[in-house]
Symmetry: D3
Subunit: 243 residues, 6 copies
């Protein structure tokens, strides 16, 4: 079960509210790269875990931390929607400044549906989907899924960082980016514990080798038309990665 502390995990401060940035932050809340996804993904992996207890504990712990990241970002959205977004006003909209705010690039549903607050949706207002919660029942597959989530999540956070000049927002993102660094480490460390690539590949490694069509298991298939040169690289030469 779960408990809350009304304090945020890290301070969230907005120096100059910007409703357009409030829209972009939605991607980090409800987008496929966002915190709702990692929160539920780690928790569902924990809820379904049948292996060693410490992995379940670790997943519960990090899933719970991510819930706090949703909270931070939703707070950031609300703060960015505060007050009159004067810098969005252009000639056409000056007669009605609220129109200007809604029209100037913000998500209209943050006002129309939520009264100036965050939605469980992405930067285009597409609702969060539970289909993004990966919990395959295979620990190695899940760890790669988690690395992917933290890699695309950190790429998103870095892109958001570029898109704001607000010192408060930049500071919050610096923290979230650092946590994503750690979480990439964390999931890869589990793969290392499981024996690394040689120990886990192919995933799942429980399928009997002799029932696989081994003659194509290490075969680089090139589907280019006759005359097109196949690319070369580590993926066409060298020892196999699973030993």
């Amino acid at each position: 079960m779960f408990y809350f502390d009304p304090k945020l995990q890290y301070d969230v401060r907005v120096d100059v509210p910007d409703p357009r940035f409030a829209r972009l932050l939605q991607q980090a809340i409800g987008g496929v790269e966002g915190e709702l996804r990692v929160c539920l993904q780690y928790l569902f992996q924990a809820f379904g875990a049948r292996g060693p207890a410490r992995y379940r504990q670790m997943l519960l712990s990090t899933g719970t931390e991510e819930m706090g990241h949703i909270e931070m970002l939703a707070t950031a959205v609300a703060l960015n929607l505060e007050g009159a977004p004067g810098d969005l006003q252009d000639e056409a909209a000056q007669a009605n400044p609220v129109v200007a705010a809604v029209m100037g690039g913000m998500d209209p549903r943050q006002y129309l549906s939520a009264g100036m607050a965050a939605l469980a949706a992405d930067a285009n207002g597409v609702p969060f989907s539970g289909a993004h919660v990966y919990a395959s029942g295979n620990l190695a597959a899940d760890m790669y899924a988690n690395v992917t989530a933290e890699a695309t999540g950190r790429a998103l956070a870095c892109r958001l960082y570029e898109l704001t000049d607000d010192p408060g927002m930049k500071d919050m993102l610096r923290f979230l980016i650092a946590r994503d660094t750690m979480h990439q480490q964390q999931w890869l460390a589990v793969i290392e514990e499981l024996g690394g690539q040689t120990g886990t590949l192919p995933i799942p490694n429980s399928f009997p080798v002799e029932e696989e069509r081994r003659e194509v298991s290490y075969d680089y298939v090139f589907t280019g038309m006759p005359g097109v040169e196949p690319p070369t690289g580590r993926f066409t030469a060298g020892p196999s990665l699973d030993g």
Copy 2:
């Protein structure tokens, strides 16, 4: 921010695993009447709250409790998927009991995608959608939304109760049903604090009365064809409910 305790809020026990019931439980996890929805709904209402701090605190508290209900139900799903579901076997499937299990009414994705664990989806495998998270920025509207969620949620739990004979599952549902009773009370108590129907209606009560087309604000419109008798009742007679 949030914390976890590996203990469940209430004991979850399955006496005889039933993969078919595991499918039905999905509705209480990821369905529109389910725990994922109330959890996120109360938390997003809290994250966006601009009014008195105690409402925010109350919403955070109950949203956090609901996270624990997701955990209980996901645990119940995993337990119902344990072992050989022998009573699903029919003649055609006996040669391959796993086929029988998957074919006999369970959600195939609980095995194919999750390796015998819960999904963030409903009883038909439709993924949970963030569109079900209502946080309108209007406290009275949100309270009615929350009563609705707990009313349909309790109806669902009562229907699930009828659909199982398992003592462990019945006991868990008795607990969840009781919590839904309380939560219905809780949200209606807030409406009472806000002045009840006379104090809150029409929602939102901030819109200037004189700008509304008052001549149709209390007018029962009947769209039946000529000759069809309009129904009568409290909705066609008596004092208006907002005083």
Copy 3:
């Protein structure tokens, strides 16, 4: 079965077309707070009604009225998309005024997909979902769902009212806001007929009281961390609302 009259329920007039407002109106057509939802919700509740005939009749009647509201709003969208949306032109777009219109905040699909007409979608172009149609088979639960729909729907209409200066649009919204006032009354009147809170709570009230874990049915659970002060209010004290 159903019939139509080519006249609208209430006059729809747009003085100065504004394609940006056409986008916002989509929320009232295909959004979760919109008319497509209430129309189908009331009709599906009617189609499934097994209780007293007059409730079925009432639901059919209001569902049919809402179909006319979809028609009014779709007409308003088409009118707002008429003609050259000159006030959206800025320097960069002047060479191609159509570009300006599409770029200036309108929903591009209203042109690309619909040739300047309404879509069955919300203000962000997210298609209407049948998942928003609540018809639980429990009359009290449905009435709370309907109050919620009309409360969030009226909040939406009031917000749209603020976002336009067009006299025609303001007049149409004044009418729709008034109808929402009435519909809130109407559904609450049914709850009063059913005995009010004491008569309907807990919903569903058919579940045997003795099978519920009564010791937590009226128990305010606080999930705050040690040291965090629980909020107090009507929800933590006073008689229970179901008598």
Copy 4:
């Protein structure tokens, strides 16, 4: 605006309730080939119509008829869910006949979410999506879209007809199949009025011919690998269909 008559357009009768057929009927309500789609498609085409008034009138008329088809099918679902579905009981489920019903192939959400009534969803419980409402603003394109809807809709109704032995259900489907026959005629008649294929092709026929890359406008492109024989037929030879 719209009116209702509590009578159905055509009698709906179920001789032996079958909850499994109730599930299949959902496809004709909320599926892509279903009545919700054609109803909204014709109405939205009408709401956005800018051409001759009689097309708008015709679309309003047929869209309104389709609303009555939703009502018939939802009634059929409710009737199929009535009573004890005895023929679904197998050994394992006899102790709890409700379980048998829910497990035996019906849509569990028809009970869990709707209390034995129809959903705004398809035969797999996937919610109806507004994305299926085609109203392109081009009359000829819309007419082909409508023919497609009635062709796939009639194919669906014919398949449902094969899947039931119930005399009442067969009778209802005979009626709906006949209406689909008529509606196919109706939309093709409009294309004939518009000049048939020579008058309407290519759609849209307003694009200046000289701006099209005419050298590939009538060119059959074959993407088969060298050595694969291209198919021949009316589509590779003969006069072009637009004259």
Copy 5:
């Protein structure tokens, strides 16, 4: 199976990158009228084809061509997102030109999620849905579905053509518009081979005529209120189209 050639089917050139046009192009990639849909629709029709081999071959061929159109459009998106979109800068955004680009009407997810590339989504960022892939198993119904797809697809391409002044983009669209012309011809030619309207109607034509309620199969039903004049036209008079 399939092969690729790194060359595009037709040259894609962007003279002046415009991130706003990159957003609009998304509709032609992942929208209901787009290339992803026709590609998968024709391929799934081919994969399920049970009739004469040459139809399967034709469907495979054109489905494969459409895959190349996705490639062309995705390339066009990437080119439109290249470089500094200077003409979007306004006063408020000049301090941070990237903000200007993202705010000025482009799809923020093309940057946030894809690092300046195309998404499998429409112009509003709504993900492509497999529900748009029609393959009914009835050849005539599928051909009408394909004509619809090419008619709305060509309408979309013509509208995009109006919305750009870029010579490269106009040239690419001229090619795609011409291919849509051909594909309309192609599917209608199959209907002609099948016997035209008299040979195919009603669809499906395998349903026994005597089991249909023939008395309403050619009956124009008008649902207007008493006093509303029914429209007249080819759809109310003249010989039936199926002979």
Copy 6:
């Protein structure tokens, strides 16, 4: 651009058609772990590739191969739906064998919507979503996403392998499982080329280290309640994985 060969990449044979297995195969076509996803994911990554040409070529090549896997699986679905599925008949359904087939665990839409063919949907009939197409513009992130897709895809194929006794189906899956083995190798080989974990972490590695809150970048945060023992492992000790 693309070409096709009517031959399949690998022989698809079904010894005893089983409509229930046809439903399960849908997960491998349109599920999140399926071939539609990897096909579009690799192609969209290729279409947006801005780095070395050989990665683009490799992605095009493998994406094109995956298109052939969709074809194989859709063919397998059609073959499993052929003929009379006698072993599904039970007492109640014997009067109407088609009913038995549709009711006995198959996806009813494979018949109702597709006339006994594959859908662009998963094993529960949920349509494929373009939201599953990951192409982040960051090569390392994309490679981890691809490993995840092939790991969960191979887990799915192995689970399907357990669920069938059909020699033809087992043979086809042995081939697909082997290709997944290779593709896991292939994407990990690219990470090795990019410098392995030390060369790529943290992803993206272009963000300036000094702007990250480094004090929490390698900090294992435990959110357990006071008294709960934190788990230990490689993720709490040892050198960081990025050197």
